[in-house]
């Protein structure tokens, strides 16, 4: 299991559109990817679960992954969450 804690920099937090983008990004890895906020884990490949974590701008979340490409997955997902611009 690989994990890393990050502060979300997306200007509007993880709302619908970034959640969809993140799910698409996570789906590219064979590893299982989780986003954990206050002890609640969401499957990062599910838009529904990601969005319902209600991750606002400035929240701290933990990215976890398990599987072959877990290291790469955590790196890319963390990068995404720390982007200051949407796009």
């Amino acid at each position: 299991m690989v994990e890393r804690s990050v502060v979300v920099r997306l200007p509007l937090g993880l709302h619908a559109r970034p959640a969809a983008e993140l799910a698409a990004l996570a789906a590219r890895f064979t590893a299982t990817v989780w986003l954990v906020r206050d002890g609640i884990a969401a499957n990062a490949k599910s838009v529904l679960e990601l969005m319902s974590l209600a991750v606002e701008h400035g929240t701290t979340v933990v990215v976890q992954a398990e599987g072959e490409d877990a290291g790469e997955a955590v790196l890319r997902v963390a990068d995404f969450l720390q982007r200051a611009e949407e796009g």
Binding site: P11, G13, A27, K45, V47, L48, E49, S52, H57, G58
Partner: protein, 574 residues
């Protein structure tokens, strides 16, 4: 609607009072007021659009049969979404992402898995869906962020729509042709399919101005009024209804006269809207390709709708003191937050420039009479001496700016860089208090409306992120003429060379330092000033909404090179 009035008064023993109160009087039209969600006028019979009643199947026959029912509903919904998508691709491409987000939800990796688990454990499809969504929606609802709360409401709609599809796989849209649809709430794909079926207007009981449904109705130009409480109880099926999406009014059982008045209104605005819609999307660009930002000055809620109609690229001047004048007291933090947020959202990603209260001591009710209020306790002077007023306003701004990055702050009546620095310090402290270190910088601009500010533009530029030239006061102060003095009206000359020397200096300084500079006074809308302002290279012009289209029209006929040459000739010639 024809009303039979002949039946009243037949029975002679009724007291006159009873007759007068008889409901069958020829005029029993009813006016309902709620939220104007999508502009336009619709007139038609009401069709009540209710979610199908529950089938009452609390226990399932077999887990497999239940699972099949679920998958059938999913493919039905997918079909509905795909046909809605095909419609919007052609008619309103900007809302395709909304439909896609629903498709994504439907095909979500974990939804199917979770529902399947619960169904296999013996729940009905409805119970399983409800269980899965309850946990998801609860968290969104508890979020402090209104955007997430709104997402919670949308998921709730999505769930209701899903449940409806389980009960009744196909809905008959054809009966809404030419009708005003009255519903508790509608989903985005329903809006599209209702529009395609030819429904002419929409009334919903549930509010929520930011919801996808509203955005879709606007894009498809389907007039809509939302948040009409008890709409379903008040509006009978088949009754003639008028939907006025400009003002948020619904007229039930209109009289012949009301109906005719609205028909005229509808036909004339229809044509105007079509022309406007075409012109509004053209850029404000000279024939040689120099682009200008045209923004609006906003003082009242109705300005917003018009701003959308004329294609404004944001708000150049939000007269926040208008809210004070409207309420007759200072608006509290929450009232301000609501207003600023609504605007930020409406215009995102275009900027919304919030000018801090330009209040005078006289308006604030301090009972002090100043001999010369225009030169007295107002604008930044007032704010720095009333930190409680300033900080309340800044808190509302900071909270909105944390969600919406398109907020700018404009400081009125500046005469020195120190005043701007003092406001920045207040802003910084409020940000630390409300948000902490992660707060992003909010652009702070100086309103250049005194000769002192114009002449010290270089010093101001050190502490400002942008300039906005307020020409009304600049003319009055430069020429030392009270702009409301009846007998001196001809001395209030906005084309006086002194005024233009100051404007020219401010623009020049701003551009040397890379600051954007705008004009937000009446001069921006003045037909004869356009060429000069274009020639000076002012970056943005902000006017009342009604003046924006004519201004754009003038800019689109000008050549920047020629305008520039003319300005140069004027300045060289003295």
């Amino acid at each position: 609607m024809e009303v039979d009035s002949s039946s009243s008064g037949r029975e002679g023993f009724l007291s006159p009072d009873t007759i007068a109160d008889h409901p069958a009087s020829p005029c029993n039209e009813q006016w309902l007021r709620a939220i104007a969600a999508s502009p336009g006028i619709a007139i038609g019979p009401a069709v009540l659009w209710l979610p199908p009643a529950a089938r009452g199947s609390d226990s399932c026959v077999s887990a497999d049969a239940e699972w099949e029912r679920y998958t059938r509903a999913v493919s039905e919904l997918r079909r509905e979404l795909l046909s809605a998508r095909a419609v919007v691709v052609a008619e309103a491409a900007e809302v395709v992402p909304i439909i896609d987000s629903y498709l994504h939800l439907l095909e979500d990796a974990s939804l199917e898995e979770r529902v399947r688990e619960l169904v296999m454990a013996g729940m009905t499809a409805e119970q399983a869906l409800q269980r899965v969504f309850d946990s998801l929606i609860g968290r969104l609802r508890r979020s402090a962020d209104v955007l997430f709360q709104e997402r919670g409401n949308e998921l709730e709609h999505f769930l209701q729509w899903f449940l409806a599809a389980l009960r009744l796989p196909q809905r008959d849209y054809t009966r809404t042709t030419g009708a005003v649809v009255v519903a508790p709430a509608v989903t985005p794909s329903e809006v599209v399919l209702l529009h395609r079926a030819g429904a002419c207007g929409l009334v919903t009981a549930v509010g929520g101005i930011t919801s996808h449904t509203t955005i879709l109705a606007r894009s498809l130009q389907l007039p809509a009024v939302i948040g009409v409480r008890n709409a379903l109880g008040t509006i009978p099926e088949g009754e003639l209804v008028i939907v006025d999406g400009y003002t948020g009014t619904v007229v039930v059982r209109p009289t012949e006269e009301t109906r005719r008045r609205y028909e005229r209104h509808r036909d004339s605005t229809e044509w105007r809207r079509r022309v406007l819609r075409w012109f509004a999307q053209l850029p404000a660009e000279t024939i040689d390709g120099r682009r200008f930002h045209l923004r609006v000055n906003i003082a009242a809620p109705q300005d917003v709708q018009e701003a959308n109609l004329v294609g404004a690229e944001g708000v150049g001047l939000l007269r926040t003191e208008a809210l004070f004048l409207q309420l007759g007291r200072l608006p509290n933090e929450e009232e301000q937050f609501q207003w600023y947020q609504e605007l930020a959202q409406q215009f995102y990603p275009d900027p919304v420039t919030i000018r801090l209260f330009d209040l005078g001591g006289d308006k604030y009710g301090e009972g002090t009479t100043e001999r010369n209020p225009a030169l007295g306790m107002r604008g930044v002077r007032f704010l720095l001496r009333h930190p409680e007023v300033l900080q309340t306003q800044l808190r509302a701004i900071v909270r909105v700016a944390a969600i919406w990055p398109n907020i700018r702050v404009l400081v009125p009546m500046v005469t020195s860089p120190q005043e701007l620095t003092a406001i920045r310090q207040h802003l910084w402290r409020v940000q630390q208090e409300c948000i902490g270190n992660i707060a992003r910088a909010i652009p702070v601009g100086a309103m250049v409306e005194t000769p002192a500010a114009a002449l010290c533009a270089a010093q101001l530029a050190e502490v400002a992120d942008f300039f906005s030239i307020g020409t009304n006061d600049l003319v009055q102060f430069t020429l030392a003429v009270d702009r409301e003095h009846g007998q001196l009206a001809e001395l209030f000359e906005p084309f006086h060379p002194a005024v233009w020397q100051l404007i020219g200096k401010v623009v020049e300084v701003a551009h040397q330092r890379g600051l954007p500079v705008g004009i937000c006074g009446e001069l921006a809308a003045h037909a004869e000033a356009t060429e000069l302002l274009v020639g000076l290279g002012v970056d943005e012009l902000s006017t009342i909404p009604a003046a924006l289209i004519p201004l754009k029209h003038r800019i689109r006929r000008l050549s920047y090179a020629q305008a520039r040459a003319r300005v140069r000739a004027l300045t060289n010639g003295g």
